[in-house]
């Protein structure tokens, strides 16, 4: 559906995007994630043909984009984009939603029916005559989505669609987006800095940083097999422990991380040399004292140095010779009676860690 090769954008000599090559299939939900300033919004604006890239080629639905030609308008009409900050025209809701149809010369009677359908889809039926300027941010964003859907686009772009919205509007919008893919087979391309949202809504995610695609894969691949330290940090694999592979044995690498400590990590291919062990905090189980529970797991002994609440979970920082973060359930925390200074054993399964080769 969308393919680009070697896209680069350097407005005024500043490199914003560099060598972007990717392919998004018809009906796929594709997410661009990564820290702010990584180039996500710039890329999505180029894909929606709002900005002309400095370099590279772009195909939409099999046709190569001819920048500056009148065909651009026809191509744009097959797509739609929801912007991060919702804007409305100085009109009522129905006129706002119908705008794209009016531009396409759709007769008034047909417009009315399609607007009603689109508003119902985003849960704003009955809002037709409200002035757009009286709506809340969440309602306005839903109007923007209805304005996009009413034209029946083949591709829907969403640029951080829920970045500044309340949880209720966010979940309504997420449901609408998920429903679109399920019921209409629309190709969805979205940017988000919210990993969980990316995981919930997208088939594949691309991590962007410094204007480049750092890694593209399914959410699980990114979460459990980050290919670089930057990606590992972004997807929340907080514990990054440097070490050296000592030996390989039937799919398990033994990594020396200190004079006495060795970790076993499951790998899919042989590795050697210097590596970083990435361990997700929620994969770590704590036991009090020296009483480690599972013989097969990795064991690390340490002392609690800090305890923080993180929603329903508790974040425990240990000193194991290096800082190690564990995320445990509140009940476990209470049962263990942890406090700063408590000696604990941290365990994690060889499958709960991942090796990143160090260049």
């Amino acid at each position: 559906m969308i393919r680009c090769e070697g896209l680069g954008w350097t407005p005024g000599g500043t490199t914003v995007l560099d060598d972007i090559t990717l392919e998004i299939a018809r009906g796929e939900a594709f997410g661009l994630i990564g820290p702010s300033g990584g180039g996500k919004s710039s890329l999505i604006r180029i894909l929606d043909l709002l900005v002309q890239p400095t370099r590279g080629r772009l195909w939409i639905g099999g046709d190569e984009v001819a920048w500056g030609s009148p065909e651009i308008v026809a191509l744009r009409r097959r797509m739609a984009m929801v912007f991060q900050r919702p804007v409305a025209f100085r009109m009522n809701v129905a006129e706002n939603v119908a705008y794209g149809l009016a531009l396409r010369g759709v007769p008034r009677a047909e417009r009315r029916a399609r607007v009603a359908d689109a508003l119902e889809l985003v849960g704003l039926d009955g809002f037709e005559d409200r002035r757009a300027s009286t709506l809340s941010g969440g309602e306005l964003q839903r109007v923007s989505i209805a304005r996009c859907l009413v034209t029946d686009p083949g591709v829907l772009f969403l640029d951080e669609p829920t970045a500044n919205l309340d949880p209720v509007s966010t979940s309504v919008i997420e449901e609408v987006v998920a429903g679109l893919r399920r019921d209409r087979g629309i190709t969805v391309v979205m940017t988000t800095h919210n990993l969980e949202q990316g995981q919930r809504l997208c088939d594949r995610l691309a991590v962007m940083a410094g204007g480049r695609l750092v890694q593209v894969g399914t959410p699980l691949e990114l979460f459990y097999r980050p290919m670089s330290i930057a990606v590992a940090q972004f997807v929340g694999a907080e514990n990054l422990v440097p070490g050296v592979v000592e030996q390989m044995d039937r799919g398990v690498a033994f990594v020396r991380i200190g004079p006495q400590a060795t970790l076993a990590v499951a790998v899919h291919a042989p590795v050697a040399g210097e590596v970083t062990v990435a361990i997700r905090p929620e994969e770590i189980v704590l036991a009090k004292g020296d009483a480690c529970r599972q013989a097969t797991a990795n064991h690390l002994h340490g002392r609690v140095t800090a305890i923080d609440s993180e929603g329903p979970l508790v974040r425990v920082v240990l000193d194991c010779g290096f800082p190690l973060v564990a995320l445990i359930r509140r009940l476990s925390y209470l049962q263990l009676g942890l406090e700063p200074g408590t000696v604990v054993c941290a365990e994690f399964d060889p499958n709960g860690a991942h090796l990143i080769a160090r260049a």
Partner: protein
């Protein structure tokens, strides 16, 4: 002092009794100034839209020039147009001198810079995301400019009102191009100027009150529309 009070009372009488000459001058004035405002608006909207939506070398200089022309002296416009349409000028054959058509052209030229400049300013004040939204929804170039003008309609309306105010209150073009011919090209401002010099203070005051009343009505109308637009 008593002369002024007396003039004022007579003026009220002239207005209330719908004096034929006062009415005739007033209607002609409205017709000429409205026509010139419409003509200038018809040129200024597309021109302003084009300038605002494009980037080109010399744009800054052009904007500077337009702003300078806001305070174009009316007599300069009168003089330039006179040179162009007087019988020896290049457009002399059109016979526009001392006609209301000539006055309409002159007033349009006079207020065109204000209308173009304020249209550009109004469009520049529109949220840039509106422009992106218009493009993303599949608007052609023309549809995008139209959409932006529509978003800026209240600011543009204020600009049009300002232009009308300048057109209806100017004397230079009206007298140099129109010639203040009674029953033909005489308008409120030229009539006030003539009647005052002839000592007909009451007529002058009556015409002055009408001129102010027109300005008041136009302003109130614009305010009403803009207030409605904000809700």
């Amino acid at each position: 002092m008593s002369e002024i009070v007396e003039g004022f009372l007579q003026a009220i009488d002239l207005i209330v009794s719908l004096d034929p000459e006062v009415m005739e001058i007033t209607l002609r004035t409205l017709s000429i100034s409205l026509s010139s405002t419409l003509l200038a608006t018809a040129i200024a909207l597309p021109a302003g839209g084009l300038i605002a939506s494009r980037e080109f070398p010399g744009k800054r200089g052009l904007l500077y020039l337009i702003q300078t022309l806001y305070s174009l002296p009316t007599v300069i416009v009168g003089l330039l147009l006179f040179l162009l349409i007087s019988s020896s000028g290049p457009f002399g054959e059109l016979g526009l001198l001392f006609t209301s058509t000539g006055m309409i052209i002159g007033q349009s030229l006079l207020i065109l810079p204000i209308l173009v400049g304020l249209t550009i300013a109004a469009l520049s004040a529109v949220d840039p995301l509106i422009r992106d939204t218009l493009a993303s929804l599949g608007g052609t170039g023309r549809q995008q400019v139209f959409g932006l003008l529509r978003e800026a309609r209240y600011a543009i309306l204020a600009a049009v009102a300002l232009g009308f105010g300048r057109a209806i209150s100017e004397v230079g073009v009206a007298i140099m191009i129109g010639g203040n011919i009674r029953g033909y090209t005489r308008v409120l401002t030229t009539a006030i100027s003539l009647e005052t010099s002839m000592g007909n203070l009451s007529l002058s005051i009556a015409l002055g009150i009408i001129l102010l009343a027109i300005a008041l009505v136009v302003n109130a109308g614009v305010n009403l529309l803009q207030g409605g637009g904000r809700a």
